[in-house]
Symmetry: C2
């Protein structure tokens, strides 16, 4: 055999990947038929390998990056994440020059951080990149000073779009920015708590500046000060009512026996009858009436009866303001906290949203504005805004296009999340596979040793399809991340032709499908890994619980999965009637629409492959997926059309064809693309030994995905009789063929041991030794609890009835 | 209409369930077509309702049971759980008299506790019930003093079966109890860390006594003291090596500059070359050789060269002992800690296994014994043990039957877990459904208000099948729990006839299937609830993350799900060849084998129902499940037979027919029974309005389950053409019919608000107000972090390169 072209030598790779420690995994490692180092080149290259190596070496040597033994408190977790973030940012691992030279380093850096700690990666991205990129994309040159400041870490940014009551439905958002031409200011205001910006990453404790999306409105009118009896705290518990923020103003020079306080309201509703309206107020219909003609006289009179204040109720003076008009959602750079003291500016109520299911190193926050004025020059108005006199102008005629352009920075998030969820799955599958290889249970009657659980069929099917999926997704995500960087570079360079526009649309469509697909596969795969590790998988020290909790966020943020799929299916449904005219090369530069080639003929023919081997052949599987994708698009289109014929409007017809139709369609569209991409990459990979194993994984991945849609293959008449049975047999066969390769494949996927944070998944395979060490040295593990008296003398605090 | 027989009046129920607070859920509540209070009677009765009410009222009024705002530390979580446990135990809510009068109170009490806090429920059960029940079941009357002591909370129990390296495979366990006739003692010993008892609930910090399962072995021989050079700590890090427990003996009267220490070894392996064997030792084959004939001279010589000690290496003197013979696993009452001081006894190394994914109020622990002697009278030897002279005796001839009898207490655990997992799902579905009813997003173009997300098809299909499943499982588990109590009472009373024996076997088989089925449905349902709540579902304050993390344990403990299913399928495979002879009434008293009636004829006929309405008819669905269960049993049996014909032994043949066969068979067997039980209960329920809604839920539950096996219906030739399509349409139809009932159904299922621990799922529907209150009053939410200087002056600890 000739050595394949351009192949990186094993010796070059050994510099970065020294031999793994010898131990219980040796047996399986010897079974692997390929070089685990060279297999890395199916998604990495020497540049990305070197960068990741540099980052991991930096971390491993830095005291800040050493893991603690026990769980940290929420506050400590945030603190250590902040410190690591500055340490990482300070290293400038991926400066702009490097990115232009090798776009893949962007994702490699993210991967290196996510493999270590996802909170760190997310926090750093939000504080620096997303803030700066939004200003680069939507701002004017005079605003680039903020980019420079954040890059030098003089300020810290965040991105505030989601509100308490609205996320995906941006039109429903209610934060307002009212322009005041007199002062050339925008008055930022949050009508109530439901309008508070919420979930804003890095805002809870740290950010000094936020990109805030707010409705641009004109001013309303003011009926002047009026007084009301306002309930403040529940007289039974002294807890403030929701909507009331009340507190003490702190120590004074004297008179400290009196608790002087402050109170703020957030659209806090009180019954009309609590208005002290003897001298003026609205009637039940909202019409204003007063016995005084002169408002100042009315006001004077009202002050005459001022009744004082107490801790459960207050007399409050407030303005009555009517609403102005709305120019839609616009973005603003809003100063939140003083960069020198981290104290919030007056008018800004900012806080932390508390503990989450995972990612607790990130301080997600909320912010409410209380008629908070910012200078006009802080509006990111490149795509539209008011002039000094308050007149509205925009280069876009269609407001939705303006809004889309301002949100351009979000599309990248979805692409990144496909990779993030795959990172989590990657770690989980390494942990579970390695542990399954060394964990021995049961076995043949007269065997000397028990059998490694990886040898059992049910263990294989829980893990190996997800091992194959990890490769499929890792390959796909790496490529997709690079597409995104190219796109961003082209955007900055202004090279926007028709093909680039088509690519932009297709990236949006593909990311809207691939993000849910990868997130859900990770969700199910991680859960399988957790269960496949048995009891010890339930230990915090297994690391799998954290991976599950962290991946969980991927199913929701940057677009809830089901909603994203609807964006994808809407696009596909628009394409279907044009399927015969479409020019794939021009209109689908990424090739996601290739399944439409000869689609009407494809849909006519049932599956001709009958034997197990035919049914799990990689190429054949791509053809079966082609049929399935086309069939789902056709039937979904027909269902929508039928509902419309029956009288439903477009919105209703689409809503009523989601389950089993549009949702499934978009999942299959995503799977189809990832499978084809995996197949193409596998069959063209230079190293023959690796290629053979990769093609086996293509088989297993494709067959495993297809099996989940098998009922549809029968309903659509594509499968009949025993084909499904043989496909299932094929899956089991591929599992048994891949089991001996599994440990070597995890060696390819695994980050360095110090990133794994798992006693079960270390490269030496000594799970029980690591478990022992962890358990025995856990702080206080062997100590009597300080509260031991509560056990022995329980009747000292509970009068015994026993 | 006549009032149905024996129906409890609405007024009686109102005593326990007052009207729910008015608010945003009012609209949906009015849509419900039935009484949510009366619906409770489908699984509760006035006794269980009253008991739960008493328990919850007790908790709600007790300061110990008030929730904290922020997450507790691991240590505080354990502490508060301990206090609550004693407070609950002290109340004696379910004394034995009550149980005999009304067996359902056992499960009702557990339910009330699980709805409040699962750690409390588990900790209490382990400390008191499991310990006492094991002694009642396997002990002798003179051991009942321990039962009395634990009931009076003078001591605290636990149950130690699982070891680090073995759980389900009990034969692989390695804790030993060596009998010494001279001293009439058992010497408990753990060979190494892998043999440590592990995961023992309540042992980590609290238990004073443990039920320990250990191999009963006879003594080996001793070659006397020899010395070795033993590496203790890594010279680079000073961390002890795994297998070495080393520490300081603490302050002395003087000479405190010297760190006197202790060291223990746990089968810690060192190379043979480190033996100081100049004066005697083994050769490479293990044969003993010494230049001295008199061992005392050899020993004297060895002391002459004593080389001292240091902190990284020690000269250690140790005995050489050979192995004895093994009488199998037996249980013992083992004193662990002094009940007056909670200090472990010498010879016992006991500790906490650290943080878990969930259930952290329970202090799971490990214990290793170091030649720890206990008196012979502590052996639980009712089913077998040694006499005073060490001679072995057992009333059972078959050792596996003896072992089975001693583990009888475990079968109850599985029955309980079906209910526990359903409890978690119950809370999650209440949270997600209520929040989906008040959360409004998007809507028709010109609508005044946005649409509640519960109206969207994709939201319905994520939630409503699981709402139906919750009812199916709640009904099933309540019944199953009662079967278990009856069985236990009969066992204590000694009424063991053939029917009772058949029932015992069937309970084992059914629990082995139902536990995985209910645990996995809860797993998937809770996950759907999490995602259906969008971003706020990811807040810790939503409560869903904790439910997921807690239910996760159900998939593993008391028998890993896949392994349990194998126990079930092994039983079914044994039944299949006898299917024509079997007398269902006698051999399947619970009726789980009713699907075998006329099975050969059933399997001949394809499904005759073609329309959507036929396909989702409750009765028809039970018939389709009958076919499916039978088909899976037949094809699995045939696959095993085929593998055997091809040369596999029984073990191998069964292992190779797990995936898509035996595993699926047992899942379907469990689903089939729960579905039938749901159908029978629904159609005979007295209240007509409730009955109608229940039957709709039977349809949805059955069709939703069946849909997941639809490919098999086609492969088996039972379905053809459009039947699958119509079944799916039927599912969507049932979802839309049940959506208006959903909120009233959650009112039936919901525990009191203070048990919910969820800002999204309260009965007043004011999710955003509760969220606001929670976020705003979270400790430190609005405060500047103490580490704010680490943000502003980051270059003080990281030299800036920017």
């Amino acid at each position: 055999m000739e050595p394949p072209r351009k192949m990186v030598a094993e010796e070059e790779l050994k510099v970065y990947f020294p031999d793994l420690p010898s131990g219980p995994l040796d047996g399986y490692r010897k079974k692997g038929t390929f070089s685990w180092r060279r297999m890395k080149l199916v998604y990495d290259n020497l540049n990305t390998i070197k960068l990741k190596h540099d980052i991991w070496t930096f971390m491993e040597k830095h005291p800040l990056f050493q893991h603690s033994e026990a769980s940290l408190t929420l506050d400590d977790e945030r603190n250590v994440t902040v410190k690591r973030m500055y340490a990482m940012h300070n290293e400038k691992f991926t400066a702009m020059e490097k990115i232009i030279e090798e776009p893949r380093v962007v994702q490699a850096e993210a991967e290196a951080m996510f493999m270590f700690d996802s909170s760190l990666a997310i926090k750093k991205t939000l504080t620096f990149n997303m803030f700066a990129n939004t200003i680069r994309g939507s701002g004017r040159p005079d605003q680039y000073q903020f980019v420079e400041d954040v890059e030098q870490a003089k300020i810290g940014g965040c991105f505030a779009l989601t509100e308490v009551a609205h996320g995906s439905n941006a039109k429903g958002m209610r934060t307002t920015a009212t322009y005041s031409p007199e002062k050339k200011q925008f008055i930022m205001h949050s009508a109530d708590f439901e309008a508070a910006k919420f979930w804003v990453g890095s805002l809870g404790k740290c950010s000094t500046h936020a990109i805030v999306y707010a409705m641009l409105i004109s001013k309303g009118t003011n009926h002047g000060l009026h007084s009301f009896i306002v309930p403040i705290r529940d007289p039974k518990t002294l807890k403030p009512y929701p909507g009331v923020i009340v507190g003490d103003i702190g120590e004074k020079i004297g008179l400290n026996g009196v608790d002087n306080g402050f109170v703020m309201f957030n659209n806090y509703a009180i019954p009309k009858k609590l208005a002290l309206d003897k001298f003026g107020g609205v009637d039940d219909n909202g019409e204003y009436k007063s016995p005084f003609r002169d408002p100042s006289k009315r006001f004077g009179a009202s002050l005459g009866v001022l009744s004082g204040k107490c801790s459960t109720h207050a007399i409050v003076y407030a303005m009555l303001i009517s609403k102005g008009t709305n120019h839609g959602l616009h973005s603003f750079i809003v100063p939140i906290r003083d960069p020198k003291t981290l104290k919030p500016y007056p008018g800004v109520i900012v806080g932390d949203i508390g503990e989450k299911i995972g990612l607790n190193g990130v301080d997600n926050g909320f912010v409410m504005f209380n008629n908070y004025a910012i200078p006009k020059k802080l509006a990111l108005d490149k795509f539209g805004g008011v002039d000094d006199n308050g007149e509205y102008k925009s280069p876009f005629r269609d407001p939705s296009k303006r809004f889309g352009a301002s949100l351009g920075v979000l599309s990248g998030g979805r692409v990144m999340i496909t990779s993030i969820s795959t990172n989590y799955l990657q770690k989980a599958i390494v942990i579970a596979t390695r542990y399954s290889a060394i964990r021995k249970q049961f076995g043949a009657e007269n065997a000397i040793e028990e059998t490694p659980v990886l040898e059992y069929q049910q263990q294989q099917i829980r893990l190996l399809p997800y091992l194959a999926a990890t490769f499929a997704q890792r390959i796909f995500c790496t490529w997709f991340g690079t597409v995104l960087v190219h796109m961003t570079i082209d955007n900055y360079a202004g090279t926007q032709d028709e093909l680039a526009a088509a690519r932009g649309i297709e990236v949006h469509a593909l990311s809207s499908a691939a993000k849910p697909v990868c997130g859900w596969v990770a969700r199910d795969g991680i859960q399988n890994c957790r269960e496949a590790c048995g009891g010890h998988g339930y230990l915090k020290a297994s690391g799998i619980g954290d991976l599950r909790n962290e991946n969980d966020a991927n199913c929701t943020y940057e677009g809830e999965n089901s909603l994203l799929l609807q964006q994808n299916s809407n696009w596909l449904l628009g394409v279907w009637p044009k399927r015969r005219q479409i020019k794939i090369a021009q209109e689908s530069p990424l090739g996601t629409l290739e399944f439409l080639e000869n689609v009407d003929e494809v849909l006519m023919k049932p599956c001709s492959w009958k034997t197990m081997d035919e049914l799990i052949d990689p190429y054949n599987l791509t053809q079966m997926y082609k049929w399935l994708t086309a069939y789902m698009l056709k039937t979904t289109y027909e269902k929508v059309a039928k509902l419309k014929r029956e009288g439903a409007d477009n919105l209703q017809a689409k809503n009523d064809s989601q389950s089993y139709n549009a949702v499934t369609l978009s999942v299959i569209y995503g799977e189809n693309y990832i499978l084809n991409h995996f197949y193409k990459t596998a069959k063209s990979f230079e190293d023959e030994a690796c290629r053979k194993v990769l093609l086996k994984m293509v088989s297993l991945y494709g067959a495993f995905l297809l099996e989940k849609h098998m009922a549809t293959l029968y309903i659509g008449g594509y499968f009949s009789l025993d084909q499904g049975l043989h496909l299932r047999e094929g899956i089991l066969k591929m599992c048994s063929l891949l089991a001996p390769e599994a440990v070597a494949l995890t060696d390819t996927l695994a980050p360095p041991d110090f990133c794994m944070k798992s006693v079960l998944g270390m490269s030496d395979g000594e799970a029980y030794k690591h478990l022992q060490n962890r358990v025995m040295t856990y702080p206080g593990a062997l100590a009597r609890p300080e509260w031991w008296r509560d056990v022995v003398y329980w009747d000292s605090y509970i009068p015994s009835k026993l």
